[in-house]
Symmetry: C2
Amino acid sequence: MKRSLAIQPSAPPGNSPETAEAAPKTLAEATYWRLRSDIVWGKLPPGSPLRSDELRAAYDVGISPLREALSRLAVEQLVTTVGQRGFRVAPITAADVLDVMETRLVIEREALTRSIKAGDLSWETNLVASFHSLSRLPIPHGPGNAAESWARHHRNFHMALLAACGSDWQLRLAGLLFDQAERYSMVRALKVSAPKLTRDTISEHKQILDAALARNSKAAVAALEKHYRATTKQVLAALQLSSAS
Amino acid sequence: MKRSLAIQPSAPPGNSPETAEAAPKTLAEATYWRLRSDIVWGKLPPGSPLRSDELRAAYDVGISPLREALSRLAVEQLVTTVGQRGFRVAPITAADVLDVMETRLVIEREALTRSIKAGDLSWETNLVASFHSLSRLPIPHGPGNAAESWARHHRNFHMALLAACGSDWQLRLAGLLFDQAERYSMVRALKVSAPKLTRDTISEHKQILDAALARNSKAAVAALEKHYRATTKQVLAALQLSSAS
DNA sequence: TCGCTCATTAATTTGGAAATTTTATATGAC
DNA sequence: GTCATATAAAATTTCCAAATTAATGAGCGA
């Protein structure tokens, strides 16, 4: 008997109230989101193979929507696919981490500057709200639902910063790269014991927030860079640890 | 009897010698590239519906690889898909044009600067070669094989500029946005009569090349911006013309 | 004439079986 | 023992038909 997939796949979307995304209208789309979450939050670890039969059983869908979902994820570089040799979760390398983080900065420097310049009251309000809920959530140690919830709020805050930039493409690319980076952070969360995380991320976020509200784009960009570079450093350290083990 | 698709779909890859891309190993992949080309080069015009039966007949493939290809294109924003209402070629709006062109600049400014800093002799060589073949190709008037060939060389030159930037993500995103922009340029080529194109694009490209070879990144970036902004202006003008007709 | 409901038609979407390709295993020659 | 070749097993990829969903239009009453 074949061993089935070792993961607990994420449930079909009985939509959690905190995420107000457009409900998927097709099975393929739903499967895409479920797989995406499971990859981004590390349930499907980097490098692991994605065999159609196992996934079909685990997610309870046919082959067609499954392949469609995997194909989409391949375009986003969340999974890799080689010729007739199937799909696997994209592996993580140190070079990738650096590249993604620096490229995020290239885009977000511009988007944040524009957003600060153009943001109106509703932008400010949403930003303050995003920060508040993020700051009141306990920083999770180790994987689990709390970690996912925190990560979602974290994403919301960062996207809220850029929301008023006026460029759909910049928002889209920033989101794409955010999710790539999230995957790296999950490696960190999974592999490194909690006590080592001694950064004060709340205050890092607050610095960005304050500068943004003060409409000081130079300071906001500087704070953002500091935040990202600190994350990069931690992830790289965790990656070395895990590759040594 | 149903009217079949009005286009002559691009041939299966009996690979033309000038494109040294990795040969597609699956039908889905091949179909993806054929469709992509036909969308980017304007054979499938913006907004036109992509019905599975028609495409199946036109490209002579089954439904599964077709959907897989369309799904991938949807992630790239080259086609749109709504719930259970199928796929269509993504429409073009003036706002899109501006957004894509400005976002290209955000990425390419950085990538070009890095490339100029890090480029070695083989980078220079490849760059010079790309420029040469581009400059000797007659600028095509109206659609056709010559137009596609020119566009391919044009793409090669622009990517050669960035090739040494050291960031896979920046290269990938630049390429993605290049193809988006190409679609807009095709609208221009299709709708505007040739005599109106009085720009000296060769000299625009030469200015970028010379600055790059002189390792003068400030000047190269300035020339690139000039080149893109001129293109943007023309595309926007053509778009207004065509929407007025 | 307009608006509504309900059947009819046309399209997309999905599941699974057949075909193809890769990977693993066994057999034999050197 | 090592390499090459042939065979078997496993996996991916594709085709196609059934199921589902949206679009269309006729009939009917106000």
